[in-house]
């Protein structure tokens, strides 16, 4: 509070220069380091008064948006390939009793290796997108092959609804990557059928392993003679938000995505809880053509921002 409330000289009294100087000294005293909202008019502060420089690379110093960073890949659609960092990257479905996520090491966009901190009361916002080049498309003629029942209805008994999962991790210390808060740990969950409860999937992106096309124009189910056809150019987006209410600062060294599959959605009998179950059973492995339980990923972008909650 720096309101200046000292009295004025009174008319008719003897005033020395020292008395007058003291009046100005009083102003100096209350305004030296004490100017606050009492001194400032309503709506007096404009954006030019704010120390809000453009920042990037998780450099702190802003007022509301504290830091931003993003990873991306320039250029157009990469050529086919299977070498990480050049063209598309293929990931095969993992097998075995439990999940085994693979670091999504495609190009330069899948890891954001810039350190930042989230103070108590601050918020992390992350958006990412993954370009998927290969989604199995099942034609009507194949459905009877794939699904022995031949009903042309994809049911649960003969085939699950398989999907791939891409989820977000952060690096809490050099080389130590953990799931972000609100995201279950698929890696260390119980092996076999039971994965983590889907209530802990705040940073999970689902990508269908296949899709069935219907050509309403011909009033038929899509009847491609090929066992499956690659579907191109699917872009999947997902976002994640986290507010640090731990009471202490969280230091993060980087963000990255991991991918794993195949999963399918399941609830235990008698339970009202859904799970993502790791099981390497794709549609096409049950008949017709060769097994093709892979996913091909193209460009990956991650954008993150730390900002004040209030």
């Amino acid at each position: 509070m720096s309101r200046i409330v000292n009295d004025n000289p009174t008319a008719g009294t003897a005033v020395t220069s020292a008395d007058l100087n003291q009046k100005f000294s009083d102003i100096t005293t209350v305004t030296s380091g004490g100017v606050d909202h009492e001194n400032v008019r309503a709506e007096a502060i404009d954006t030019t008064n704010l120390d809000a420089p453009t920042t990037s690379g998780h450099i702190s110093g802003d007022t509301i948006i504290l830091s931003t960073a993003h990873s991306h890949e320039n250029g157009s659609r990469p050529a086919y390939g299977s070498v990480p960092g050049s063209g598309l990257t293929s990931y095969s479905a993992t097998t075995g009793p439990g999940p085994s996520p693979q670091y999504l090491a495609h190009g330069t966009g899948s890891e954001l290796n810039q350190a930042f901190s989230i103070d108590d009361g601050e918020m992390l916002r992350v958006h990412w997108q993954v370009w998927v080049d290969h989604i199995v498309r099942l034609g009507g003629a194949d459905m009877g092959t794939v699904h022995p029942a031949g009903s042309h209805t994809i049911g649960y008994a003969s085939a699950r609804h398989p999907c791939w999962l891409v989820w977000l991790q952060w690096e809490t210390s050099p080389g130590v990557w953990e799931e972000v808060p609100g995201q279950g740990d698929f890696t260390n969950s119980i092996g076999g059928e039971n994965g983590d409860n889907v209530s802990e999937t705040a940073a999970t992106m689902v990508i269908p392993h296949g899709t069935v096309m219907y050509a309403s124009r011909f009033n038929i189910i899509y009847t491609d003679d090929a066992a499956w056809v690659d579907e191109k150019n699917h872009m999947f987006r997902r976002s994640y938000n986290y507010i640090n209410n731990t009471g202490s600062t969280i230091t993060i060294l980087g963000l990255r995505l991991v991918v794993d599959g195949l999963y399918h959605l399941k609830s235990l009998v008698g339970s009202t809880t859904n799970y993502m179950v790791h099981e390497n059973i794709g549609w096409e492995t049950t008949g017709g053509g060769s097994a093709d339980n892979i996913i091909k990923l193209g460009t990956v972008h991650i954008a993150s921002m730390v900002m004040r909650k209030n």
Binding site: I4, A11, E38, I64, Y156, H161, V198, V206, I221, F236
Partner: protein
Amino acid sequence: MSKRWTVFDPGSKNIVDVDGFNDEYNTQKGALNGGVDRNNLPGEYITRAQIKQGAFHKTHLFTGLLLSDESIKLNNGGNLQPDGLDYSLYNGGWRRAFDPVQVSGLRDGMNHIEFNCWQWQYRFTSGFSLEPGGVLATQENHDHWVKWRILYNGMIVLETGAMYTQYDNVTLSADFPMMGGDASIEVQFAFAPPAYNDGDPVDVVDSPMFTFAGGQILLLSRFR
């Protein structure tokens, strides 16, 4: 405009009059006692430490949102099925995705709202068949879809088109002006109603059809 606080300067030969001094002094005090504005403050001067909590904006985050409405949700008995919306309990129309979330203490300004989740739908359950005597597939009996919308104090601020993919990720955002006060935010979905063919149901009525999880609502209120 507060920087013109000087009323006059005493002449060098004049006898200083206390009333003149007080005029000058009062004006200076008045300028500083609540009259400072952007012309007095230097550019890029106000840092984060000088901004009070909630001065410019307020953020609310609701997380862990998923389908839990037992009035439309099947508790299945199948080994490979998830729990989800059930046609024996749901016949179409907009439904609450979860209980509305409440926020308070907002002031006039603009809202930025985001809702995200992932979803699954049983797209292929319709009873069409290419077998002799089977029901032909039509758009009505085959295409299942999900739509989403967000209501702010009962007003629709966002509504999507139909989403058809059996697994998909929902990332919605809307910006709109707001009045000060409290607010209720409701997220609703609509799923394709069960299909009929000549009066006969062609959809499986006792299978889970749709569910979602991993949901978050982010409300970023920017004050005027």
